[in-house]
């Protein structure tokens, strides 16, 4: 390909983009009328509620735990930082199904922690707690690593200037570091959101009930076939994609402004 000619390169990238977007044409596939009867509608709406509510809870926990963790790692020296980042990579790199099995065994009734939690009434399998904690596990690595990158992008000298102007470290974080990294944090959170709300493998093992959207999609596919999947698929895409997509586009625009 002759890259000296811009239109050739542009045509190439357009072809590439079309290949990436092509799967969306499946929404118009001729599979017969979509099913939206009572047997489909009830569970679908319930799964949407479960996914939105519990993923929102998971995001609150991820931000509450992940932000201070990321702020700490961002200030670590290289060796310590590498250690913590390596740990954070583990849940990201673990195959979801394996993660689900590990979580079930570690926090289930047969493990010490799990039985202890059950004694306090916290059930860690097939419960909202299990659902949320699994989502936290799969999403927090993405958020923390993204947040560390966002904090790294704030010039150290600005933070030191703020301190020399009399701000305590906590106030420097709140008034300088946080506002200057907010878009990066939003990007990190959107990645965690997409990862958590779309999680299927791990959630299917730890929390088949309450049923979220990915598991419900699987149930509809195996029980009723494609026509029963499509309405939920559209809702799933509408819920999962636009916000993170918009945040990423905004971040890119800001970067190139």
């Amino acid at each position: 390909m002759n890259l000296d000619r811009p239109w050739v390169a542009r045509a190439g990238i357009a072809l590439f983009a079309m290949a990436l977007l092509y799967p969306f044409t499946a929404l118009f596939a001729r599979i017969g009328p979509w099913q939206w009867g009572e047997s489909v509608r009830g569970p679908v709406l319930s799964s949407v509620r479960v996914s939105l509510l519990l993923t929102a809870c998971a995001m609150v926990i991820i931000v509450a735990i992940g932000t201070p963790v990321a702020a700490y790692i961002a200030h670590c020296r290289t060796r310590e930082r590498l250690l913590w980042q390596a740990v954070l990579l583990v849940p990201i790199l673990l195959p979801p199904l394996a993660l689900g099995i590990l979580l079930t065994l570690a926090y289930g009734p047969y493990a010490t922690v799990g039985s202890l939690l059950e004694r306090f009434g916290v059930v860690m399998t097939n419960s909202a707690t299990a659902f949320v904690s699994t989502q936290v596990y799969v999403g927090i690595g993405y958020y923390v690593l993204g947040a560390v990158a966002a904090f790294d992008a704030v010039p150290v000298m600005l933070q030191k200037q703020a301190a020399l102007l009399g701000l305590t470290p906590a106030n420097v974080f709140l008034r300088v570091t946080l506002p200057l990294s907010r878009l990066g944090l939003a990007v990190a959170l959107s990645l965690a959101w997409v990862r958590a709300i779309g999680e299927f493998g791990a959630v299917m093992v730890t929390a088949y009930y309450p049923t979220g959207m990915p598991v419900q999609l699987w149930v509809n596919l195996t029980s009723f076939g494609l026509p029963a999947v499509m309405p939920l698929l559209v809702v799933f895409l509408a819920v999962a994609l636009p916000l993170p997509w918009l945040v990423h586009v905004l971040a890119q625009r800001r970067r190139h402004a």
Binding site: Q161, A162, P169, P179
Partner: protein, 243 residues
């Protein structure tokens, strides 16, 4: 805001070993005095200043302002009653010019009539009015230096550290800013240490005394007249010679 007493005195010995240079510099400065740190690029001037400010930590030595020990142990930056200005004025891009200038001043103090008048004085003196509400990220380099200077003065500091704050500006603006700074140093009575590798800038800013550094060591100190009359090293003679 930094309070002021009559017996301000900075005393410091900075020992800092770097890969390319080993710095060992002692200095003392009385209240309201100014001191120029002069030398070629890489002589260790900025290192000395950064160590006093707390931006860098010395390997050994001490830094003391009156009875307040900056080092050792390292005093947290927010408890050091000083202001530090470099050629990068370090404005907060998410805030307006006005918010930058009031940054770090406690809300209760900022609301006082006297403080409001003081901020208004700075705004007028540095001609910041036309872009007072503009985001700091959108103003020009020269305007940013003026804002940086005004912000530095807003807290009425006891000690001001300047690391080539006028580098890259046109001569007219440099002259204006130096005159402003000298005026406010006299009016507010703060002590000042300035670093520059241009003798004429430093001489105007700190006319009475200078310390010359080479390879991290003091090679001469005294008045500018002394330096011009009998430069201690060939490099200093060369640095002081007209172009």
């Amino acid at each position: 805001m930094c309070s002021r007493s009559d017996d301000d005195m900075l005393e410091a010995r900075i020992i800092k070993n770097r890969r390319e240079i080993s710095v060992d510099v002692s200095l003392a400065l009385g209240r309201g005095q100014s001191l120029g740190l002069f030398g070629a690029s890489g002589a260790g001037k900025s290192t000395v200043l950064a160590c006093i400010a707390g931006i860098e930590e010395p390997d050994d030595g001490f830094v003391k302002l009156d009875n307040l020990q900056f080092f050792p142990p390292s005093l947290p930056l927010h408890r050091r009653p000083l202001r530090y200005l470099t050629q990068e004025p370090g404005l907060f891009p998410h805030l307006s010019v006005g918010e930058n200038i009031s940054f770090g001043i406690a809300k209760a103090i900022a609301a006082e009539e006297e403080q409001r008048r003081w901020i208004a004085t700075l705004r007028d003196r540095f001609q910041l009015g036309p872009f007072w509400n503009a985001p700091a990220s959108l103003i020009s380099g020269g305007q940013a230096r003026r804002v940086g200077l005004a912000r530095m003065l807003a807290g009425k500091p006891r000690l001001v550290l300047l690391d080539e704050p006028f580098a890259g500006l046109d001569r007219q603006l440099v002259r204006e800013l130096i005159d402003d700074l000298v005026f406010w140093a006299r009016t507010l009575g703060f002590s000042m240490i300035a670093v520059d590798h241009q003798a004429e800038v430093l001489k105007r800013l700190c006319p009475h005394q200078a310390i010359v550094l080479e390879q991290g060591r003091i090679v001469q100190q005294g008045s500018w007249d002394d330096l011009y009359r009998a430069p201690a090293t060939p490099l200093l003679r060369s640095l002081l010679a007209p172009l």
